[in-house]
């Protein structure tokens, strides 16, 4: 439970910090681009650490739950498709797009993202085939974004999902899609490399010390029995983060 809330807490913290430092950055005469850059670096590192599953991306592939994916789709799409032509196409697609997204996930979990704008343009095409063929047929005829987006993201997405944790791969792809087309390739490529490296290094990293950062209300000892009450803590254990508001500990020394 406390691991599941981690992404939303981190999201809230990141947004809070970024909003608060924006005026500071301006005061120091630093461009607003750097705020964005800092945020991106920060998020990339948090994602790379894989301390929790981050669902910023279009929802993770859950073929057995197409319907729950619908609210996920509607929730994630705004974050996933930033202010650009893609967003307008999404709105025009409306419910069709969302159903297409859900069914596309059902059929082809790896490619919820790129199919979204594609689906809007070519709703008549069969969904499953559309996932692979649409990008190629529609790309050149409509807009640059799609042209660059889909062919680039398709192969790398598949590569990631076969080997790497889903959340990380998709999340990186989503953020990539939110940037310029050129950056998408590099983001996805970097993550596919990182995911392989992390899988190997993760085992070494987990030999790092598991830590708990918290405050204490009370620490007491009777003979060799220790009891403590801890508050507002962050646990890093087994490579994952957990949060608690209160923890009672009992140890024997």
């Amino acid at each position: 439970m406390s691991n599941k809330i981690v992404p939303s807490i981190y999201r809230a913290v990141i947004d809070d910090v970024i909003d608060a430092i924006r005026p500071e950055f301006e005061e120091f005469g630093v461009s607003a681009d750097l705020v964005r850059k800092l945020q991106d670096k920060w998020e990339m590192k948090i994602l790379a650490s894989r301390v929790a599953d981050f669902p910023v991306e279009p929802p993770p592939p859950q073929p057995t739950y197409p319907y729950p994916a619908l609210p996920h789709a509607t929730h994630n799409v705004p974050a996933y498709v930033p202010p650009s032509a893609a967003q307008q196409r999404l709105k025009s697609g409306g419910i069709d797009a969302r159903y297409a997204l859900a069914t596309a996930q059902y059929a082809f979990p790896p490619l919820p993202g790129p199919t979204l704008p594609a689906q809007n343009k070519n709703t008549s095409a069969p969904v499953t085939a559309a996932v692979y063929t649409l990008p190629q047929t529609d790309g050149p005829s409509v807009s640059e974004d799609d042209d660059d987006l889909e062919p680039v993201s398709v192969p790398t997405r598949i590569g990631q999902l076969s080997g790497a944790p889903v959340g990380k791969g998709e999340l990186a792809a989503g953020e990539g899609l939110s940037k310029d087309a050129e950056q998408i390739g590099s983001d996805l490529d970097d993550d596919s490399d990182d995911s392989e490296n992390d899988a190997e290094e993760g085992e070494e990293a987990q030999s790092e010390i598991d830590m708990v950062f918290c405050t204490y209300d009370k620490v007491a000892r009777v003979k060799n029995k220790w009891k403590c009450v801890l508050k507002d803590g962050m646990i890093h254990a087994g490579g994952k983060d957990y949060l608690f508001q209160r923890c009672t500990g009992e140890f024997e020394w």
Partner: protein, 113 residues
């Protein structure tokens, strides 16, 4: 804004991610160290406030205490064979874990005494 917040969260995953990102920007000359300090201070505050407001999970911890230390109102425990019991019957076990706990209270009072 006079009160400071504990800085130990900077050692956490999210804190280290921010610190590393800031270091990269400093090295590239994009921001000054002073600005980075401000960002970290804001992070301390935001994280502490968010944890207090939004985190409601309770957990229990059992284990064998190997080492304990109290210095400057900071407890450090090293626990072996620790098991955390979370809500929804989630149990996390680790062979070894270090607990760093500061005295309860948001502000760093020691500096003011």
């Amino acid at each position: 804004m006079a009160t400071a917040y504990y800085e130990f969260y900077r050692g956490s995953s999210i804190g280290m991610a921010l610190t590393d990102s800031l270091d990269e920007l400093i090295t590239s000359g994009a921001i000054t160290p002073q600005l980075a300090m401000k960002v970290l201070q804001q992070f301390d505050k935001s994280l502490a406030d968010t944890m207090v407001k939004q985190v409601k999970a309770k957990t229990t911890l059992k284990g064998h205490l190997k080492t304990y230390r109290l210095c400057d109102d900071v407890w450090t425990f090293i626990v072996k064979q620790a098991s955390f019991k979370m809500e929804q019957n989630e149990v996390i076990t680790t062979p070894r874990i270090k607990i760093i706990a500061c005295k309860n209270g948001d502000a760093i009072e020691a500096g003011k005494k």
